[in-house]
């Protein structure tokens, strides 16, 4: 009798444990495993960095065995269904025009609400200008750990560890997020975009959008210029160019390569070039496919801002310039002779 009761007791307990475990795994699956990809837009167009984030988010979802959805705030001219080509099946849009300008406070609230509405547990966005404004706010609002400036997919074998750059690109840190919800902002140009076929369904997401406390009174864009952090190729000039009047050849070369132009700190400090072109530890940090440094010696502070470039070409007349140690290809020679030839040769290649 006693034994029977015990057995029953044991059985029911066993069943309860199984049921609990099943429910637990089940809810765990639904709750943990969903990736929300924030797609950033400006003036009606999706930014290039967003395609990198889409690819990253889709690969991350595949890695942890779930699906990824996109989130777009505001209204755009681009075809959102076409985002399906990057591997997502659904785009959640909050088509409110207030969101066509980035107000970090408002964005964080809307994104956090969207995370709750879609049940996502990983939010990915770009560590671009918008990402820098909103990622931390989203993280604080959701009490979700943030890895800012990630450069690789997480290691999910033991925890949730993401590699990011630290010390202005001089090193990397592997950061473990300990919270149930995770926020990752991906460094621009650190992930290859993968495009395939497909179409996503676009749905309006019903979340409250408060009025913005920030009034945008002017937008001044330098037209026709390739944004530095998004550029595949960057042509950069240093003090070796002797003066701002000699920047014509830098511009010719970057025009031929559809590149962005940049400069070293002394050049920006001397007002030869605008400050937003300054790359380096205290300037913009970039990671283009190709970085061409002309007349830049390669001080450690400069290298910190560019050493994640995939290919570095250095043109300098001083064979002892420290930059050659960090370069893949180099020419020891006078920039005033080499650069116009380089432009001509590239033009020749493009014409063939």
């Amino acid at each position: 009798m006693c034994k029977c009761a015990d057995e029953r007791d044991y059985k029911s307990k066993y069943c309860a444990v199984i049921a609990f475990a099943y429910l637990h795994i089940h809810t765990f699956k639904i709750r943990i495993m969903s990736v929300l990809i924030f797609v950033d837009q400006t003036e009606g167009h999706i930014k290039k960095s967003s395609y990198e984030v889409l690819t990253y988010g889709v690969k991350l979802a595949a890695q942890i065995g779930t699906t990824a959805e996109a989130l777009l705030l505001g209204t755009v001219n681009d075809d959102l269904a076409a985002l399906g080509k990057y591997g997502i099946t659904k785009v959640n849009q909050v088509p409110n025009e207030t969101l066509n300008h980035v107000d970090a406070q408002l964005y964080a609230k809307v994104i956090a609400d969207a995370v709750t509405a879609t049940g996502a547990n990983v939010v990915v966005l770009s560590h671009n200008q918008t990402g820098k404004a909103i990622a931390a706010r989203v993280s604080a609002r959701l009490k979700a750990g943030l890895v800012a400036g990630a450069i690789a997919l997480p290691d999910t074998t033991n925890g949730f560890t993401v590699k990011r750059t630290v010390f202005s690109g001089k090193a990397f840190a592997n950061v473990n997020i300990v919270t149930p919800i995770k926020v990752i902002s991906l460094n621009p140009n650190s992930f290859h975009v993968a495009v395939g076929e497909g179409s996503a369904k676009v749905e309006s997401l019903n979340v409250t959008v408060d009025p913005s406390k920030i009034k945008v009174t002017a937008v001044n864009k330098v037209s026709g210029e390739v944004p530095l952090t998004e550029a595949d190729i960057v042509v950069s000039g240093g003090r070796g160019l002797k003066g701002p009047e000699n920047w014509g050849m830098i511009e010719d070369l970057s025009h031929e390569l559809h590149a962005a132009t940049a400069c070293s700190r002394p050049v920006a400090d001397s007002d030869w070039r605008p400050h937003h072109e300054h790359v380096g530890q205290t300037g913009v940090q970039i990671a283009p496919n190709l970085y061409i440094a002309i007349g830049i010696s390669g001080a450690i502070q400069h290298l910190a801002g560019v050493n994640r470039s995939k290919v570095i070409v250095v043109i300098n007349k001083d064979p002892e310039a420290p930059f050659f140690k960090a370069a893949d290809y180099g020419i020891v020679g006078d920039a005033f002779e080499v650069v116009p030839q380089l432009t001509a040769e590239i033009k020749k290649m493009h014409n063939n």
Binding site: T42, A104, Q129, A136, K143, L290
Partner: protein, 247 residues
């Protein structure tokens, strides 16, 4: 009007970055500590300029860290500011740091909180965002210009390929970068005055970190440069096209 400037100590820009204890800790041996350039050159100096224009402004500095931060705080006070606050805890993740600052800021009722756009060691650009969310006030990041007109701030901020002008009523958190102000060097009077300025040490609140650093890595060394003769530019173009596939 009360302004709070957040400052942080960082390794000097020329520091060799190395790690110890199985790459789990930054090796501080031989490292020269400086004020994070963005905090110093832009946030602090802009606050000083505002105070020079309106001496009734109360300007406080805050950092989160142990007593080894004090020399850097004194250096900041030598540039200016009425008093400094140090939250006495080892700084861990950026969220915890921001939560300490937000707790002090809430208590102090500041109208304007200025930070550098990021620190040059951990580069997360996240502390100002965290603070603003914890205080539930607006945040303008990557600011290149800041003007104050009564209780309304006009702020230029960097966007992709340009700038945007934002108008916002105080209180606001602003992440500052180049353009905001010009670097200053403390004078002897400032250095002397800094010695006697109040440096309040406050105890931390309890905060759970949201993330932790497992370990660090250094980038792999480059294979070595391939030099091309200056009179053979065509060869460089060929290499970039065929070998590196970069153009």
């Amino acid at each position: 009007m009360k302004i709070l400037v957040c400052i942080s100590k960082t390794p000097d820009t020329t520091s060799k970055i190395a790690f110890k204890n199985g790459n789990t800790q930054f090796d501080e041996a031989g490292v020269q500590w400086i004020l994070n350039p963005y905090d110093e050159w832009y946030a602090l100096v802009r606050a000083l300029e505002l105070k020079e224009k309106d001496p009734s402004i109360v300007l406080h500095l805050i950092t989160v860290g142990t007593a080894d931060c004090d020399p850097v705080i004194r250096k900041a006070l030598a540039l200016g500011g009425d008093e400094a606050i140090r939250v006495n805890t080892d700084s861990t993740d950026s969220y915890s740091i921001a939560a300490q600052i937000a707790a002090v800021a809430k208590e102090g009722g500041y109208d304007l909180i200025l930070t550098g756009k990021e620190t040059i060691d951990y580069n997360g650009a996240s502390v100002p965002g965290f603070i603003s969310e914890l205080l539930d006030i607006p945040y303008v990041s990557l600011a290149t210009k800041f003007e104050l007109n009564g209780s309304v701030a006009t702020i230029d901020r960097e966007i992709e390929g340009g700038e945007e002008v934002n108008e916002v009523a105080l209180p606001v958190v602003v992440g500052c970068q180049k353009g905001m102000a010009e670097q200053r060097i403390p004078n002897m009077r400032g250095i002397m005055a800094a010695r006697t300025k109040p440096l309040k040490v406050v105890e931390p609140i309890a905060v759970d970190a949201l993330s932790s650093i497992v370990n660090f890595e250094l980038p792999p060394a480059k294979a070595g440069v391939k030099l091309v003769a200056a009179d053979n530019v065509a060869e460089l173009v060929r290499l970039l096209h065929e070998e590196a596939k970069a153009i």
